[in-house]
């Protein structure tokens, strides 16, 4: 479904992603881990089409078609979703109205039920829907809001950029449950980008990739996470560039 081939990305005139290859099939959960500054967030922005992140070489294929020249909304319409590490606050726009416009669901009854079910799953109070988009939300509320939008948009591919950071253990479990539910019900492919291992107690990956200096340097199964937990990222840089 997603094929990233020899991807090079630069921002502010600096190359951050330096030849990255990755393939994600329908329903698979991939975890991308790596130290700060290794290019995790740059990859997620580039995949979604942020204008400040330029793909200078390589390609991104989604269901066989190149998406690298498409605007973010076109990518979204194809079924790509990005959960932001720092979701933007937009005053005056109610969360529920926004989701309704984004999902473009003409059946109001169906929309209401779907929204209500997903909000209960994420343990979000109904009043949340009336609040302005992320305006005055706590860090945890913003992340739940992102997962809610993912659950409503039912993407084919969800890129989750540090969705686990800044969450307490209860919020982390709730968010993980949301990810698992969407993965199971919609068969979404998931690219879970994280700095920490703790969310992986609740979300079981099919593949784990380790990124360092803009390249994937290790790929393995869930056991790679245990190894990383024991040895830390230093082990990666020492033993890097093994495939």
């Amino acid at each position: 479904m997603l094929e990233i081939r020899d991807l090079h990305v630069e921002t502010n005139g600096k190359e951050i992603i330096k030849g990255l290859d990755l393939e994600i099939k329908k329903g698979e959960i991939h975890v991308l881990m790596g130290p700060n500054g290794s290019g995790k967030s740059t990859l997620s922005y580039a995949l979604m089409g942020h204008p400040k992140y330029k793909i200078t070489r390589g390609d991104v294929l989604f269901e066989g078609e190149s998406v690298k020249d498409l605007s973010p909304d076109k990518r979204s319409k194809l079924g790509i979703f990005l959960s932001f590490q720092y979701p933007m606050e937009v005053q005056g726009v109610q969360l529920s109205n926004f989701i309704r416009l984004a999902t473009d669901n003409k059946n109001f009854q169906e929309f209401r039920e779907d929204l209500s079910n997903n909000m209960s799953m994420l343990k979000m109070d109904k009043s949340f829907g009336q609040r302005y988009l992320n305006d005055g939300f706590s860090g945890g509320e913003k992340k739940r809001g992102e997962i809610l939008q993912m659950a409503m948009l039912k993407p084919k591919l969800a890129i989750l950029d540090e969705t686990d950071s800044g969450l307490d253990i209860d919020a982390l479990k709730t968010v993980a449950e949301g990810i698992n539910t969407v993965n199971k019900n919609v068969n979404s492919g998931i690219l879970l980008i994280t700095h920490y291992q703790r969310i992986l107690k609740f979300v079981k990956p099919d593949y784990v990739h380790i990124i360092s200096d803009g390249k994937i340097v290790q790929t393995g199964g869930a056991d790679l996470v245990d190894k990383l937990e024991e040895e830390g990222y230093e082990w990666v840089s020492k033993n890097g560039h093994k495939k």
């Binding site: 089409g49 973010p72 909304d73 979204s76 932001f84 937009v90 926004f98 302005y132």
Partner: protein
Amino acid sequence: MLPLLSKIREESMNKFLGMNLPQEREEDWRYTTIDNIEFTAGDSEIMMSDAPEGVIFTDILTAMKEHSSMIEKHMKVKIMDKFSAFHYANLVNGIFIHIPDEKSAELSSVINGASHTVIVLGKNSKLKYTEEYSGTGLTDGVEIFAGEDSEVNLTSVHNSKKTFSFKHAALERSAKLDWTVASVGEFHRTRMDIDLCGEAASSDIKCAFKGRNEQHKDFLVTTNHIGRDTQSNVLGKGILDDRSTSVFRGMINIAKTAQRTDAYLSSNTLLLSEEARANSVPSLVIDTDDVKAKHGATTGQIDEEQLFYLQSRGLSEAQAEEFIVQGFFEPIVNDKLRGVLNGST
């Protein structure tokens, strides 16, 4: 002519004749160019809603006849410049509102042309009032006297060609004023003076403006904290497109007597074109200790990160922009203003 009216007109006319037009070098006029001013009074027409029993809601000439003592007590002729002098010198039409003690009313008016409105609120009374201005009147004015524990909620909509507005309010002990002024006309200068006289009086002033083409919006909002424990909030919020311009001046004066004052002043302007210009000038004069006073201003174009965020959820760039623009006024608008500000402009 009524003796009170002819006195006001005559004195104001004398002042008008002796005054010059404001100069651009005067600080209050630095960002506003005055040209092609025609000092003609013109016709004016007023439509008013019904009022509940006991409440006076009438035209100002009738009020000068029938309630002259109240008018004389509360009407303050404030001449600050040539335009305000002209305003009083040509006073022919307007509205008088009196809400007696403990009473409440919801009123509205539509004003086409020049007018002067005097509002008097008795103790513990409540007023919700919407006024809409249109047409070619050069000036309009509102004066409010809010008695102890009274509450006023006012919405003023200005959609006139070239207008100078004067708005003044004096609040007694624990009186509350909530005033939203929306300006969408060609050229509009609004001068507001809010006097928080009694202790624990509070005011919440919201100025919303929208400009396009060569339109110009000018707000000069002064809040005078006189009583102790008084609170004020002034917020300017504007969207400018094309070559439109604005100036938002907020002044907070805290007198020696106004201990434990809480004052907040802020303005945000969203620029939709490269040529639009917004000026924001805050000023705070504090003559006592133990006060909280803060101000802040932002001016900028639509945030690229916000656009990207909304686009990533499937909204086209145009839809995302419209969302941000429509949402901009949402925190301060009511149903009436939503149509005015998010309409066809």
